[in-house]
Amino acid sequence: MSSGETAGIAVRAGWPRERLLTRVRRRWFGPTQPWWGFVFTVPILVLLVCFKFWPMAYAAWLSLTNASLTERAWRFVGVANYARLARDTAFIGALETTGRYVGATITLSMVLGLCLAVLLNQKIPARGLFRTLMFLPAVVPIVVAPILWQFLFHPYGLVNNALKALGVHPVNWLLSPRGAVEALVVATAWRLTPLCMVIYLAGLQSIPGELYEAAAIDGAGAPRRFRSVTLPMLKPTFLVVMVFAITLTVQNFVLALVMTGGGPDSASTTLSLFVYQTGFLGFRMGYASAAAIVMLLIIVAFTLLSLRALRSEEG
């Protein structure tokens, strides 16, 4: 530890620069034997390299080939897969569906989650019980949620009964192109909202109470306090929730797979479901990998954008 710092000072002071090898040797094999730290991380690194980094590189390579599950011989085809994706109406449709699905889902669950978190942050009796109960949808297994909602959105199901009671014309949810996506949005938001709520609650509880007291003394009413204290203080939490919600919704295809199967007529086929169908049902591994890379780029772009926003917020 100490030798590393001395080396740093030496370089900064303009003394003859150590050779890289000497520096590495000092910082790794100093008296506190820091190289042991690396030894501790080796096991997980091996697994991550084998099952994360290698598949990632493999995906990038596959996306440049015409690989298929049924044929042995693969050929390098350059960016042909990407060029074809840009012209593929099924892929463009999946992108559009994903945009609508993700946009609606995260808006719904972020707004609802915030409202619930603010409600559950008030001083009311049985607050803990409500928090527990509200979290239950997130506890339902991911494969059970679509089965449940498929039943609720049945033509004679509970949702249509509720609509009838409200005087609205019932909808054939899962068999109409718009209804299928809307049903997916509701089902996903139902399971996502409690998770958003919990993150918001943590953010709300980290806001110092003095701020509210000061605002109250300055004569701010409850709505004003929400707008001028809660919302600005919650901005970092907001970004965290957004990244969380977007990545979870973009990647998830269990709900679409079990609930609608991407139908009717691929109207509810999202990007991740498209990757699955192309790769595992259509056996076109190269083409599916190209679509998967596009999906990764979307996730990375959103994550980096929000990280940057977060950093500028803090800095």
Binding site: L45, L48, P137, V140, V143, L195, F280
Partner: protein
Amino acid sequence: MSLASAVHPLRRLGLRRAPNRARVRAHAVTIGLLLLLTAVTVVFLMPIFWMVSTSLKTNRHVFDLPIQWFPRPALWSNYPAAYATVRFTRYFVNSAIVTGCVTVLNVMLSALAGYGLAKYRFLGRHVLLVLILATLMLPLEVVMVPLYLTVQRLGWLNSYQGMIVPVAANALGVLMMRQYFLSLPDDLIAAARIDGAGHVSTFLRIAVPLAWPALLTVAILIFQSTWDDFVWPFLIISNTSKATVPLAVQTFQSAETSNFPMLMAVSSIASVPLTLLFFVFQRQIITGVATTGMRH
């Protein structure tokens, strides 16, 4: 701040002497909030209630109008029937094997890496941490095609190791363990080292026993997400003898799409383990979700 704390007791005094009307208003607000919350909770929990309610009906009466909220008579016999038809025992055992192995492996690997990254200052540790954290942006769904091909080449399709090893390493555990070990005083470790303990025995005898709350949190979160995982087993398991609970549920669903009471009974049975886990370890699960903001 000093102003606020100076005024605060006065304000409280003032409130205590407040006219009745203000107190009544405060009560009214509380009752209104409670009513609102109750309504929202009822709507949110309706799907779960409806699942249990439907699971106690006969198939003929599922869509009866007016709606039968509490079926009479309640057909509790649907549950043993559902359990027997799906032959759940096999799948519970498979899920337990896979989830148990993944959890143990993951906790061990995370604790090791978290300790190494928090307590040693070696060249390149920041790069290593960033590399590990970057895998959080890489969901299984993105690499499912190459991962499948890799596992296929290893000959691990339809096997326990195929379900366990590829998902055993998770950056989330490393992040949480590192965070915990950073808060552990360096002096403790230095003292053990001066007393002549080796690196490994310092880790095992000093760091691990102190870190059990963090280890427990990681274990619970990993257990939950692994038990719940559907995609990876779905991709590599085609043999029912190795199937996990979520796979069994999905298989039953695709075979019996319109036998709703059975379907709901199967869904309820499949939901029991995670629900129990949640009620026992509620604090760990909620703080885990809240602090990491990510579950996968």
